[in-house]
């Protein structure tokens, strides 16, 4: 049942609707609802948002309503609907669909051709363009080329974990190496790195065997 967070005027066409939000209908694309009956009774008329032409009880929202609808346009405003306006739901049956099997051409038999929305729908085949499917992956075409030379392709690479093991082992290895040098014996101060290196080099390079 609808949550009672809004109110409708009963019956008839209403110019204004109060804005509402009904969580039941917050995801119109996931619902498939039948098209409302369009017929001569509706032809050429303005239509009001939602409730007036549907078979619903007063106070209950129309299944064809959508949270994305702009309820600000009264019935007479058909001709100055803004170009970027949202598609009027009653016209298409429900918020995302043309209705069952209906196509744009079929469902607007009585409308003036110079409504800007017509052009828009002619080239925009998918009326779900404002519904975002967060889980849909991008097509594979974008995938190639993301990972450059030298980078890891592993998902999770590039995270900023601290590499404890590498740091710890590097410290241990450096310390052990210094201990090796000390144990090997050096005449000068073992803590002086420069003299250490000089000592090592002199010990090794002086005695280089001659290769022929």
């Amino acid at each position: 049942m609808a949550s009672g967070a809004y109110s409708y005027g009963g019956g008839g066409n209403h110019a204004q609707q109060q804005p509402y939000y009904d969580p039941e209908f917050a995801h119109p694309s996931s619902q498939s609802t039948p098209a409302p009956p369009y017929g001569a009774s509706q032809g050429g008329h303005e239509y009001s948002h939602g409730s007036a032409q549907k078979h619903n009880q007063p106070g209950r929202p129309s299944p064809f309503d959508s949270v994305f609808d702009d309820n600000a346009y009264p019935s007479g405003s058909r001709h100055n609907t803004p170009g970027g306006g949202t598609p009027q739901p009653g016209y298409y049956g429900d918020t995302g669909y043309y209705g069952q099997g209906a196509s744009p051409a079929a469902s607007r038999p009585n409308l003036n051709d110079d409504i800007p929305l017509q052009d828009r729908t002619a080239k925009d085949g998918d009326m779900n363009d404002h519904v975002y499917d967060a889980n849909a992956p991008k097509p594979g075409g974008k995938r190639r080329g993301n990972i450059r030379v030298g980078e890891l392709g592993m998902i999770g690479a590039g995270t900023k974990r601290i590499p404890f093991v590498v740091y710890l082992f590097s410290v241990i290895q450096a310390a052990v190496f210094i201990a090796e040098i000390v144990k090997n014996g050096t005449p000068s101060n073992p803590l002086c790195a420069a003299s250490l290196v000089a000592d090592l080099l002199s010990r090794n390079l002086h005695g280089l065997p001659h290769h022929d």
Binding site: N146, I147, G156, A157, S170, Q173, E180, N204
Partner: protein, 323 residues
């Protein structure tokens, strides 16, 4: 560094390295040429602080760490108790033979290995690093010349390089230039292998570490990216799993972990288990060979030396050389 023999790595003498824990087979098991020698032609060892070829000490002094049973040179190669400093498979991971040696290894470790650890996490990294390193020394213990003292983290680092190769293969289609990446890795391996043929460098560490890294990588890394996409799995090694295809974490729900899984998921896990069993088997076989069977392979040393001058004689225990 040059006494009693020149150390090309610019570092301490071999005897110091042995005394501090290098992989050195005479301290780890009976060797036919040593324990099997007779008293009139004993094998002699240099002291840890030797600077000449005449400073002779018992094996026990050279080995250090509380000593080993000295060979009694009665011709019996199966002397008991035998030397058994098993930790010489592990300690040398943290030792290096010289400045050049530690310089190259730390460079690799602080770049490639650091990134790898950031990618896969510390536990997996530690597992691969230590296993690859130990396995490299186990291989060397079995097949390198017995008198060679071996140190270095190269085996471990080669295991990590194997992980980068696996990562490349798993994400091949997402790479900008996968062939170039592959060329880099191959070049790296070739250079290291060639360098390993020089005297003083133990190629068995490299080879063994690389093989173990490949095998363990299959076990502990995520599945190939193409497989992950097909299984629609989560994308991180973190504890919080994403993706619709993942089940509950294993420890929270061991049975549920296996429910509803696709055949490909099972196939990859079976491969992983098979490889893991293979690793354990190979480890056991090689250790058994080292301690019990001790079958040797005469040509194996050529994987780690070039038959130039007397390079391949390095480490071969001959009498009456004072090693």
């Amino acid at each position: 560094m040059i006494k009693p023999q020149f150390n090309p790595m610019i570092g301490p003498s071999t005897q110091v390295l042995i005394n501090m824990g290098a992989r050195y087979a005479p301290c780890m098991h009976n060797i036919k040429a040593i324990q099997g020698a007779t008293a009139d032609r004993p094998i002699l060892f240099l002291c840890p602080n030797a600077t000449t070829n005449t400073a002779i000490c018992p094996l026990s002094t050279l080995c250090g760490f509380g000593g080993v049973p000295d060979p009694i040179f009665d011709g019996n190669a199966d002397q008991t108790p035998a030397p058994d400093q098993w930790f010489r498979f592990i300690i040398p991971i943290f030792m290096h033979a010289g400045i050049i040696h530690i310089g190259f290894n730390l460079l690799l470790q602080l770049t490639v290995a650091k990134e790898m650890e950031q990618a896969i996490g510390s536990i997996r990294f530690f597992l691969v690093y230590m296993s690859a390193g130990i396995f490299g020394f186990v291989m060397g213990g079995n097949w390198a010349a017995p008198g060679i003292a071996s140190t270095g983290a190269s085996g471990s680092l080669f295991g990590i390089i194997a992980l980068t190769l696996l990562d490349l293969l798993y994400s091949w289609s997402e790479r900008r230039s996968p062939v170039k990446d592959l060329m880099f890795i191959i070049l790296d391996m070739v250079i290291a292998f060639v360098l390993g043929l020089l005297p003083g460098l133990d190629n068995y560490s490299h080879i063994g570490g690389f093989l173990m890294g490949l095998a363990l990588g299959i076990c502990v890394l995520h599945s190939p990216n193409s497989l992950r996409r097909r299984l629609d799995e989560g994308s991180a090694y973190s504890a919080v799993h994403g993706g619709q295809g993942l089940g509950p974490p294993f420890f929270k729900d061991p049975i549920g972990f296996f429910k509803g899984r696709k055949p490909l998921w099972w196939a990859w896990w079976i491969i992983r288990v098979a490889v893991l069993i293979g690793i354990i088997v190979v480890f056991v076989v090689l250790l058994k060979n080292f301690y019990a069977d001790r079958s040797t392979c005469e040509w194996c040393k050529y994987l780690s030396c070039l038959p130039i001058k007397d390079w391949c004689d390095l480490g071969v225990i001959k009498d009456p050389n004072a090693h």
